[in-house]
């Protein structure tokens, strides 16, 4: 369903994809005396939700590319799906005795391969630290088994369309 509110100042549309679009006519800025300022009021509950998402993210990821996060904020549904996946990653890692900072790091960023134009993925990278390597070896697990598990979790948790855009790396 698409909801549109129209006034002489422009239109506000909430699209099917739950994207809010505010259209302001071009002449609004040039017509003399027509518009003195724009103020955008955001419901504090919405800000609270964004704040909550960023707080959740900061507990799940310790290497952040801010441009990537900025882009994710424009796609809140995608952001929430990524958070759910990251929480599942931590739960899985906890089950095999691995904890962030002590055994591994988590990075979220874009991987653009300069050698291949169009190689551009949102990457979630789990970087095993020395302690993490020792811990998994002690449990008879290797890096590839870890990668296989995390990749499989991503496929189970993320919607199919998003899954194709997100790559999971273990280093």
């Amino acid at each position: 369903m698409i909801n549109t509110y129209t006034s002489e100042c422009g239109t506000v549309t909430m699209t099917d994809g739950r994207r809010l679009i505010i259209n302001i006519p071009e002449d609004m800025f040039t017509s003399p005396g027509y518009l003195s300022s724009i103020s955008l009021r955001i419901n504090t509950e919405a800000l609270g939700t964004i704040n909550n998402m960023l707080n959740r993210l900061s507990k799940l990821v310790n290497k952040i590319d801010f441009e990537t996060i900025n882009n994710l904020l424009f796609q809140p549904t995608v952001f929430l799906d990524i958070l759910t996946f990251l929480e599942e990653v931590h739960e899985f890692m906890g089950r095999i005795g691995l904890y962030m900072y002590e055994h591994f790091q988590v990075e979220i960023s874009r991987w653009i391969d300069d050698e291949v134009e169009g190689w551009n993925y949102l990457q979630i990278k789990v970087i095993l630290l020395g302690g993490g390597m020792n811990e998994i070896s002690r449990r008879g697990i290797d890096k590839f088994m870890l990668l296989k598990s995390l990749v499989s979790i991503a496929t189970q948790i993320l919607p199919q369309q998003l899954r194709r855009e997100v790559v999971v790396l273990v280093e």
Binding site: E117, N120, D142, L147, K148, V167, V168, L169
Partner: protein
């Protein structure tokens, strides 16, 4: 594609042979280069195997075929097509490419000893599923992969301008 005279998987077989049979006789100062080469060849074994199998599929788009056969775009097209069929295998290829990029270009950090074994395991898993994956690929998947890559490029150019 013209008649094939080389089986790309033998790059992987060679890498395993070097690591398991010859590594102990390689002079110490060449061991890191050998490790890097093993990782790099493993990626190319996987990439070229898929590329060649895609090229023997009956598809009509001659321009796309030329791109896969002759240009660097093949890396992105192959990876993206595989992702459409099986995201898990797609991620394995992406991980292998990351290992290869580091092995070929990152000269400031020595690859850790487990990297070669890691690359081998990833490749082994991919090869074990490759026949099944290739049997699922249709021309529409390759076209869809190429469209997605082009959209990404447009987006990248938009941000650069």
């Amino acid at each position: 594609m013209s008649h094939r005279v080389f089986e790309p998987k033998t790059f992987y077989d060679l890498a395993i042979h070097v690591k398991n049979q010859l590594f102990h006789i390689i002079p110490q100062e060449l061991k890191q280069a050998a490790d890097r080469t093993c990782i790099s060849r493993t990626y190319y074994a996987v990439f070229l195997s898929f590329r060649d199998k895609i090229l023997v599929l009956p598809f009509q788009n001659a321009e796309l075929r030329r791109r896969i056969e002759r240009t660097n775009d093949a890396h992105a097209i192959v990876a993206e097509t595989i992702r459409i069929i099986d995201a898990d295998i797609g991620d394995f290829i992406v991980n292998l490419r990351k290992l290869r990029n580091d092995a070929d270009y990152k000269t400031d950090i020595a690859p850790s000893p487990d990297k070669v074994a890691y690359a081998f395991k990833i490749a082994n898993e991919i090869f074990s599923k490759s026949a099944f994956i290739v049997s699922k690929i249709k021309e529409s998947d390759i076209i869809s992969a190429w469209s997605k890559i082009q959209r990404r490029r447009q987006k990248e150019r938009f941000y650069l301008e």
